[in-house]
Structure formats: structure tokens, C-alpha cells
């Protein structure tokens, strides 16, 4: 708003929006950098002489400090090794039918007959498929990691609740813990704690702690003041007030944290298999994928999926009350009856092990030994339909991936597209984009016009050929416009750090891969979300699919992608999209369904067509929710980036993975922090965007 020109001023000065000047300058700068590329290449590619060996410095520091503090951590590791072996031993000793009885009794208490049936089927599948011992090993890690994470998370959450001055630091720590890819901190953990399953345990406890902290704080913050004051007026001491009033009132939220923590622990236990050497289900998936045994990887991937869904439903059943109250069977299964069943089952286990030690042995030949046929036929299918899979891959690769990475200037070569760019073509391209920008300027304002100019430039030049000053200043400007100086400084410092560390090539790879995945997910997922918002049946079909995709650990998405498309960037794209497609579906549906009914009715009453209602009433009103969906999509894509590195990319995730292979702590930390920076920046930017969209109402 330019209110400078008061009434008494004779001539109203020509005011241009400050944003337009800044963005226009940025477009001009980008042009200038590209134009001067020949004579001054450092304008486009970050000069190597300016790079600083940060990774090497970190390694020097860690080489010096690790031997000093190592004994302490090794002793912790030895200390944790004892309960872990005990737990593994106990679960291996427990006969599988007894385990089934116990799990289904707990399921009856948590979710009723249907959940119990599901748990019996899932566990039977694990036995029949031949992955029982591995599943129990994974379970033992989860059973140990969860109490550590829950205890630690609760303590930190209470700390943040009680002492607000701790909170900013705590929140920053949580952001880092959740955005630095787990592989990156596996390296220092390996150095400190030594090789072995305990590292997986510790890594998953660290990874699983943040949701518990956040939910504990949230729950305690949200205890209604009336309840708090009624406790005080009853004469509670501080301790009584905390344990008998505040914690019980916050318990539903804390239990949600417990559910999320358990799922995170499971997901991490499976990823930790990458450091290998431990007979768990994650290792089975990984090794069968490496050996291209797709039958086995599908079988074991299914075990992980069932495992995850079962644990999720079990913990969620305890966390959330059913709106219509417990089913009769849930009510019948009181805590006392449950305890009795468990005791009886354990007695049965002991007597069986002593009296008939050979009964109930696991089947000697399992499905996994008999899937050679599946392997052969899958390989056959992939080979016979190679024209289809390769075709699909090549179309996307040549028409989307390469132009985005190398730009049209790089892709339009005889080798790739079969022709080279002529000056006429370039001129036509420029005219086309300028015309688009002009149209946008006329009907939607300057923001879209400038955005189109940038998009045209980007597509022509490619992410790899984007001048780094334009990148840094562009994100700085965006952050400044959306959230102010603080975020702008953060953005520019972060990009500066990545460039100085010499990771500019992986950075542009990461950005273009993420961006492409996010755009495709938003388009496909958005359409599905619109469909689901307008059709009950679509919603019913999509909901369990989304639930499943969100519950299953990210690792599993690599299996189908790898099976059909082999190693490569396209495969990574598919895997990322499988994981990141859920938020747009969910949030678009939720946003559109929960638009204020009175507004929609008013527009309908004016005689708007359904598409007018959608585009002119529902979409603008649902925008804040949809922005949150975009936020979640970007976060999901970035978190999958590191895992997708396993199927071959050249991005920051791959750098982390390389560092893990070489035990290069410095590179791992630098690349991990870079990914965390991208994630935190994307999060803050989209949240600021959502706030702006929300404040327009």
C-alpha cells in the first residue's frame, strides 16, 4: 500500500510496487549472467577456487576427538547390547503360536475382532513366507528403541513446556533431527558406537524422539485453563497438579505422539539395515534387491508393510477412542483379562519348550525358497515388456528430466532430441514465453508474468546451467517477500554454505528432482484430491490406499520402482512420487470438503456452474489448507530423496550415501545439513505462503 501520497500533495508520485522492481532486477541479472557466460564463466558456475574444504575440516576435528570420547560411547554401546540380546533371545525363544495369541489378544483390546483377525493373518503370513526370525529381530529393535525414544521425548517435551526459554533451541534441534537424513548421522554414530545392531537401535531412538517431544508439548500446552485452574483450586501441589491433572488431560495427544514415535522407530530400524550385518527384515529387503531377486523382495517388502500397518493400528487403537465407543469384544477384553491371557500364554510357552521342544517348529520350507518361478517370470515380464517400461522411462527422461536438468539448450542436441537449436527456434521460444508473460500480465498481474519469465529462463537453461548468483538472490528475495529479513538471511547463508562446500552440482540435481516430483505429485494428487472431494466412492477407494502408502516405511517404495525401471534417476523419481503423492490427495480433498458451506451456497445461488464454484469459490477458500498440503509434499519428497539415492541419483542424498560407504563423517554431515537446510527453508517458505493465503480471508 502506497499511502505516501496524501491529499495535500499536488502531484501523486508514480509508485511502482517495490516487489516488481526487485523481481524485475532479478530477471535482468539472470539474463546478464547467462549473456556474459562466455567471457566470465564464474557468473554461472561457482568458481572452484572459492570453495572451502569444510568436510575435510570436520574430518580433522572428528579424527582428533573421536578417539578421546570413543570409550564412553563404546561402553554405552556395550551396555545397550545386553538388553538387546536378551530381547532378541526372548523373542526367538517364544514359540510363534504363543506370540500370535498374545498379539491377537492385544489387538482385541485395542481395535476389536477385525484387528485381531488382521494380526493373525499378518503373523501367519510372516511364518508362511519364512521371515519369522527376521521379523522378530526387527520387533526386538523396535521394542527397545520405542521406550528410549518415548522416555527421552517425554522428558524433553516436559522441559520445553515448563521452561519456555528452552523452547526455541529445542524446536531448532527437533527440526534438525527430523530433516537431516538418517544416513547422515549414521556415520558419526558408527564412528562413536562401533559397528553393529546397537547403532541401528540408537539411530532409530534418535530419529523417533521428535514426534514424542512435539506431541508432549502440544498436549500439555493445550490443557484447557479451566481444567488447570480447577486442579489448583482443589489444592493440588505442583506434583499432584502435573501428574494428576495436566498429564492425564494431555494423554490423548501424548498417545498420538507414542503412535508416531513407534512408526518412526520402525521405519528407521528398517533403514538402518543399510549398515548391514544384522538378520532383520530390512536387511532381507535390501539384499534381495541387490541380488535382483524380486520375488523375495516383494515377499519381504510385504512383511514390512504388514508389520507397519499392524503396529500403527495397534498403537492408534490405544491412542484414539472410537467415536461410537468400544465394541462388545473390546469391552470384554479388560486389562485384567488381557494380563491373564498373556500369563497363561507364557506358561504355555515355558511348558512347551520343556516338554515338547520340537513341536511348533517353523516350517522348514517357506514361500521364500519357492519363488524362483516368480523371479523368472517377473524377469521375463520385465524383459518381454521392456519396450513399454523403457519407452515410458525414456519419454519422461527425454521430455522432462533432461530438459529440466540440462535445459533446452542442453537437451536439444542431435544426440538427445535428434536436432540442434537454430537461432529461429530460439527466437520463437523467446517470443512464445514473452507472449505468455504478457497475457499473464494483462489478466493476472505482474507476479505471474515475472514467474513465467523465470520459468522460461529456467527451462531454457536447466537447473545445472542456472547462474548461482540468481539462485541465491532469488531464494533470498522470495524468503524476504514471504517471511522477512530473518528467513532471507537464512536462505542466502544456507545456499552460500552449500556452494562453498563444493556441492553445487548435487544441489541442483536435488532441487530439480524434488521440484519435478513435487510438481507431478501436485498435478496428479491434486486431480485425485478434487475427484475424492466430489465423489464418496472415490474417497472410499483412495483413503485406504493413502493410509497404506503413508504407513509403510519409505524403503518399500524402492522395490516396485526398481523392479520395473532398473537403476536410474527415473526410478528415483517414481519412488519419491509414490511417497509424496499422499499429501496433495489428502489436503486437497480435506480443503475442498471443508470449505465454508454458506459461501459455497451463496455462490451456487448466484447461478455458478460446478466448475465456477470449484475455481472461484472452493479453491481460493481452500488455499491455506492446500498450501499446507504443498508443504507436506515438499517435505515428503525431500525426506525420500536420501533413500532414493539407493537406486542411483546424483543428488545430495547420493553424497550422503557415498559418505556412508567411505565412512566420511565430514562429507556426510555437510551433505546431510544441506538437505536439512533445503527442507527447513522449503518448510518455512510454504508455511509463510500459507499464512499469507490464510490472512487474505
Amino acid at each position: 500500500m502506497s499511502t505516501v501520497s496524501g491529499i495535500d500533495q499536488p502531484i501523486r508520485p508514480l509508485t511502482v510496487e517495490p516487489g516488481l522492481i526487485a523481481w524485475g532486477a532479478l530477471v535482468a541479472l539472470t539474463f546478464a549472467c547467462i549473456a556474459l557466460q562466455r567471457s566470465a564463466p564464474w557468473l554461472v558456475n561457482f568458481p572452484t577456487v572459492w570453495q572451502v574444504p569444510i568436510a575435510a575440516w570436520i574430518n580433522v576435528v572428528s579424527d582428533a576427538t573421536v578417539p578421546v570420547i570413543q570409550p564412553l560411547f563404546r561402553s554405552i554401546s556395550a551396555f545397550l547390547d545386553v538388553p538387546m540380546r536378551a530381547m532378541q533371545g526372548a523373542l526367538a525363544w517364544l514359540p510363534w503360536p504363543i506370540m500370535m495369541v498374545i498379539v491377537s489378544a492385544v489387538s482385541l483390546k485395542s481395535g476389536g475382532a477385525r484387528l485381531a483377525l488382521f494380526s493373525i493373518i499378518s503373523l501367519s503370513y510372516m511364518v508362511v513366507a519364512g521371515y519369522w526370525p527376521q521379523s522378530m529381530n526387527t520387533l526386538s529393535l523396535v521394542l527397545l528403541a520405542v521406550p528410549i525414544a518415548v522416555g527421552l521425548g517425554f522428558a524433553l517435551g516436559v522441559l520445553g513446556y515448563r521452561f519456555p526459554s528452552f523452547r526455541p533451541g529445542l524446536l531448532a534441534l527437533l527440526d534438525l533431527m527430523q530433516t537431516v537424513p538418517a544416513f547422515a548421522y549414521l556415520i558419526p554414530l558408527l564412528l562413536l558406537f562401533g559397528f553393529g545392531p546397537v547403532v541401528g537401535l540408537i539411530a532409530s531412538a534418535i530419529y523417533a524422539t521428535p514426534p514424542m517431544v512435539r506431541n508432549t508439548m502440544l498436549g500439555l500446552d493445550r490443557v484447557p485453563s479451566d481444567i488447570r485452574e480447577s486442579g489448583l483450586m482443589s489444592g493440588c501441589t505442583r506434583r499432584q497438579q502435573f501428574w494428576q491433572v495436566e498429564v492425564p488431560s494431555a494423554l490423548p495427544q501424548i498417545l498420538i505422539g507414542f503412535n508416531q514415535t513407534t512408526m518412526a522407530a520402525l521405519s528407521m530400524v528398517i533403514v538402518a539395515a543399510i549398515i548391514g550385518g544384522f538378520e532383520d527384515i530390512g536387511w532381507e529387503v535390501l539384499s534381495s534387491m541387490r541380488k535382483a531377486e524380486f520375488g523375495q523382495s516383494i515377499l519381504s517388502g510385504l512383511v514390512i508393510a504388514l508389520f507397519a500397518i499392524l503396529i500403527d493400528r495397534l498403537t492408534l487403537g490405544f491412542a484414539k477412542e472410537r467415536p461410537i465407543g468400544p465394541t462388545p469384544i473390546m469391552a470384554w477384553m479388560s486389562w485384567r483379562r488381557l494380563a491373564m491371557i498373556v500369563v497363561v500364554a507364557l506358561v504355555a510357552a515355558v511348558s512347551q519348550r520343556h516338554l515338547w521342544p520340537d513341536a511348533w517348529a517353523l516350517p522348514s520350507t517357506a514361500l521364500r525358497q519357492q519363488v524362483e518361478i516368480v523371479n523368472v517370470s517377473l524377469t521375463g515380464i520385465v524383459r518381454d515388456y521392456a519396450w513399454f517400461f523403457n519407452g515410458a522411462r525414456n519419454v519422461v527422461l527425454y521430455s522432462l528430466l533432461l530438459p529440466l536438468r540440462l535445459g533446452i539448450v542442453g537437451a536439444a542436441t542431435p544426440a538427445l532430441w535428434g536436432f540442434a537449436l537454430t537461432p529461429t527456434m530460439i527466437a520463437a521460444y523467446v517470443v512464445l514465453w514473452l507472449a505468455l508473460a504478457f497475457l499473464a500480465l494483462r489478466s493476472y498481474g505482474w507476479r505471474l508474468a515475472v514467474a513465467l519469465c523465470m520459468a522460461g529462463l529456467l527451462l531454457f537453461q536447466g537447473f545445472a546451467g542456472l547462474p548461482w548468483p540468481a539462485l541465491v538472490l532469488g531464494f533470498g528475495l522470495l524468503a524476504y517477500r514471504l517471511a522477512g529479513t530473518g528467513l532471507a538471511c537464512f536462505a542466502m547463508l544456507g545456499f552460500g554454505f552449500i556452494l562453498v562446500s563444493g556441492l553445487s552440482a548435487p544441489l541442483s540435481q536435488s532441487m530439480y528432482l524434488t521440484m519435478l516430483a513435487v510438481i507431478l505429485c501436485l498435478m496428479i494428487g491434486g486431480l485425485l484430491g478434487i475427484w475424492a472431494a466430489h465423489s464418496e466412492r472415490a474417497s472410499k477407494i483412495l483413503r485406504p490406499i493413502c493410509d497404506g502408502l503413508q504407513t509403510v516405511p519409505q524403503f518399500v517404495f524402492l522395490i516396485p520402482a526398481l523392479m520395473f525401471f532398473k537403476v536410474g534417476e527415473f526410478t528415483a523419481l517414481i519412488a519419491i512420487m509414490l511417497y509424496a503423492i499422499v499429501p496433495p490427495i489428502r489436503y486437497v480433498e480435506h480443503g475442498l470438503r471443508n470449505v465454508r458451506a454458506d459461501v459455497v451456497e451463496a455462490v451456487q445461488q448466484m447461478g455458478a456452474t460446478p466448475s465456477q464454484i470449484l475455481m472461484q469459490a472452493k479453491f481460493p477458500l481452500a488455499l491455506p489448507v492446500i498450501m499446507l498440503g504443498i508443504n507436506q509434499t515438499i517435505m515428503a519428497a525431500l525426506s525420500m530423496l536420501a533413500i532414493a539415492a539407493l537406486v542411483g541419483t546424483r543428488d545430495l542424498g547420493q553424497q550422503v550415501y557415498i559418505a556412508l560407504g567411505k565412512a566420511d563423517a565430514g562429507l556426510g554431515i555437510v551433505a546431510g545439513l544441506s538437505i536439512a537446510f533445503l527442507a527447513i527453508l522449503a518448510d518455512r517458505l510454504t508455511q509463510a505462503g500459507a499464512r499469507q493465503a490464510g490472512s487474505m480471508e
Partner: protein
């Protein structure tokens, strides 16, 4: 009504200010500043004076209502009285002892035995049943299970919720939940009873029922009550005396009849203009010495003037008014009709 009863709680020049440095405004040199000027200065300097120089006294067994719109500081004031909110300045005397000097331990003891409070949104613990909620203050005091359940059942019967002991709060209606809140606040048998907008979250019909219920309870229990509301009709209906607050300041204190008949300023007058005098003014307010007049009919001093109209049309010329202490005074029918006339003039203007 006029008889002197001991003062239960007194509040002298109590202030509560929010901001960066509220203590800056209150030094102990003891000279008196004009409260309005100080409040204005606080507002100008980025502080929020939520309670401005509040002073009043409440006698044992009295229902004292604090009335004001939202943001007038009434909820903050009642929280100062129980020290849920720490006053910035002033003095609060409970049975003559300075409440603000009580140590945390003493405060807990006071809350455990001498105070009960009812909250607008009930403040029930969602994980406890009705019985456990009502027994909660006793549990906090580590009373035995049997003793506290017995007492809780008694309280539940008192508020008419027998049979719902095993229900959880979310299975009850709003009115029932507030009955639980009332039962809980009475479980320790406090002499001082705070009610912070107890019926504001309820539907009008239920609110009316709960007000009757409240008056019935008070007739039996004879607590000293501080009752917060934003509803002027509720205030006039329940109050022995009421205080009207505006922007943190108490603008008038008095019996309902005093306030409708002699509003302190335009603000109070606007507030009360829709309230029929007939309903607010009680027979005792108009009664004069009997001086040998022949009375036709005896009525209670607490009866509203409204109830006398049918009797006057039936031919009664003078009423005998029986005071709470048994003595008798009188009202002439003409005086009642004068109120009626004044009322209709008010409505017309």
C-alpha cells in the same frame, strides 16, 4: 437484610496490570494516585490494567455478584481473590487475614478447605468418572477411598445426579456437567464459593433451571458467594449485592434496587434500562415503619413488587412486610403503583 454480619472477604485497592514491568507502577511509598489517571498512563505505556483499584467487602452468607461485559476484568478479579492470578497491588483479607501474605503451602491448605470454585467451561477432568471427579479434591488431600466416595455420593445426590456416578464427562449434557462441577466445588465443604460465569455456556432454558437450583442450594448451605456473570438479568435475579465493572474498574456497588433506582452513571443506566423495576425491587426495599397503620395482607420482605400487583387489584390497600428477623414494616399500595408508573415512563422514553 440490614443486620450486621461479619465480613468474610474484603478487597482493598486491588490492582492487576499486565505488561513488561507492572511492578514499576506500584511502589510502597503509600501516597494516593488518582486510579483513572494511573490506568490511563499504564495503557499509554503499553500495559494492560485488567483490574483497577477494586475495593469491596462481602459479608458471610451473602451472594455478591460481579457483573461486566467480556474484557471488563471480572474474571481476573475473582482469580485475584483466589490467587490463581497474583494481584499487582492491594490487599485481600480473608476472615481478617492477609491472603496475599499466605505462603504457597498455606495457600494450598486454604484452597483445600476454605474455597470452592466453579468454572465457565466446567473444568472437569476428562479421564475421570463423575464420582471420581467429585471426589478429586478429597483424593488430593489423601483421604481414604471409602470416605471420599461417600462424601462424593452425598454431593452428587445434592445436585440431583444420582445414577450417573459411573459416567464420564463427555457422556453428559452441559447442564449435567456443570452440576458435576458444582458438586466437586462443594465436596470439601468450603465456606467461600467462587462461581465464574457458571451458567454462561448453557442454553437459556437450562440456565434458568440452574439458577433456581443454585438458589435452592444456597438456601440450604448459606455459603459466602462471589458470582461472576455478564448477564444483567442473572445478576439481578441472584444477587444480594452486585458490583458492576467496566474496563477493569468497579463503577457501582449496591443492592439491585439501588442500582436500578440510582444508577451511578450513564453506562450503568444503559445497562439497566431494559430491566423492569417491578422485578428487581423487593418489598423490603420500599418498606417503611408501620406506625399503627392497618395492614390487609402480610408478605415476605424478599417478595418482588411484581407479586403484589394482583393483590392490589384484588383490593389490598396496605401490605405488612415481614423482615428476616421477624419484625414487621409496611408498604402502601400507592407506593407500589408509583413504581409501576415509573417503570412505564422508563419504557416509553
Amino acid at each position: 437484610m440490614t443486620q450486621e454480619r461479619p465480613i468474610k472477604i474484603a478487597c482493598h485497592n486491588v490492582w492487576k496490570a499486565y505488561g513488561n514491568r507492572p511492578s514499576y507502577y506500584f511502589d510502597s511509598r503509600g501516597y494516593k494516585i488518582d486510579p483513572d489517571a494511573l490506568a490511563d498512563r499504564m495503557r499509554a505505556e503499553g500495559h494492560l490494567p485488567a483490574v483497577v483499584d477494586a475495593s469491596f467487602e462481602v459479608a458471610t452468607g451473602e451472594i455478591f455478584v460481579i457483573m461486566g461485559l467480556s474484557g471488563s476484568g471480572k474474571s481476573t478479579l475473582v482469580r485475584c481473590l483466589s490467587r490463581l492470578v497474583e494481584p499487582s497491588a492491594g490487599e485481600i483479607l480473608l476472615d481478617g487475614r492477609d491472603l496475599l501474605k499466605a505462603s504457597p503451602k498455606e495457600l494450598i491448605e486454604l484452597r483445600r478447605h476454605d474455597m470452592g470454585m466453579v468454572f465457565q467451561n466446567f473444568g472437569l477432568l476428562p479421564h475421570l468418572t463423575v464420582l471420581e471427579n467429585v471426589a478429586f479434591p478429597l483424593k488430593i488431600q489423601r483421604k481414604g477411598q471409602k470416605e471420599r466416595e461417600e462424601r462424593a455420593r452425598e454431593m452428587i445426590a445434592l445436585v440431583g445426579l444420582d445414577g450417573r456416578e459411573k459416567s464420564f464427562p463427555n457422556q453428559l449434557s452441559g447442564g449435567q456437567q456443570q452440576r458435576v462441577g458444582i458438586a466437586r466445588s462443594l465436596a470439601v465443604g468450603p465456606a467461600l464459593w467462587f462461581l465464574d460465569e457458571p451458567f454462561s455456556a448453557l442454553d437459556p432454558l437450562i440456565r434458568r433451571q440452574m439458577q433456581d437450583e443454585f438458589l435452592r442450594l444456597q438456601k440450604m448451605l448459606k455459603k459466602t458467594i462471589i458470582f461472576i456473570t455478564h448477564d444483567i438479568a442473572e445478576a439481578f435475579r441472584l444477587a444480594d449485592r452486585l458490583a458492576i465493572m467496566r474496563a477493569g474498574k468497579i463503577v457501582q456497588i449496591g443492592r439491585p434496587a439501588d442500582i436500578v433506582l440510582n444508577p451511578a452513571d450513564n453506562y450503568v443506566a444503559q445497562f439497566t434500562e431494559d430491566t423492569p423495576l417491578l422485578r428487581v425491587i423487593k418489598a423490603g426495599d420500599l418498606a417503611t415503619a408501620i406506625n399503627g397503620t392497618v395492614v390487609d395482607h402480610d408478605i415476605d420482605a424478599g417478595a418482588s413488587i411484581e407479586e403484589l400487583i394482583p393483590l392490589i387489584t384484588g383490593g389490598v390497600k396496605a401490605f405488612g412486610v415481614v423482615q428476616a428477623d421477624g419484625t414487621r414494616r409496611m408498604i402502601a399500595a400507592v407506593d407500589v403503583l408509583a413504581v409501576l408508573e415509573r417503570d412505564s415512563r422508563r419504557q416509553a422514553s
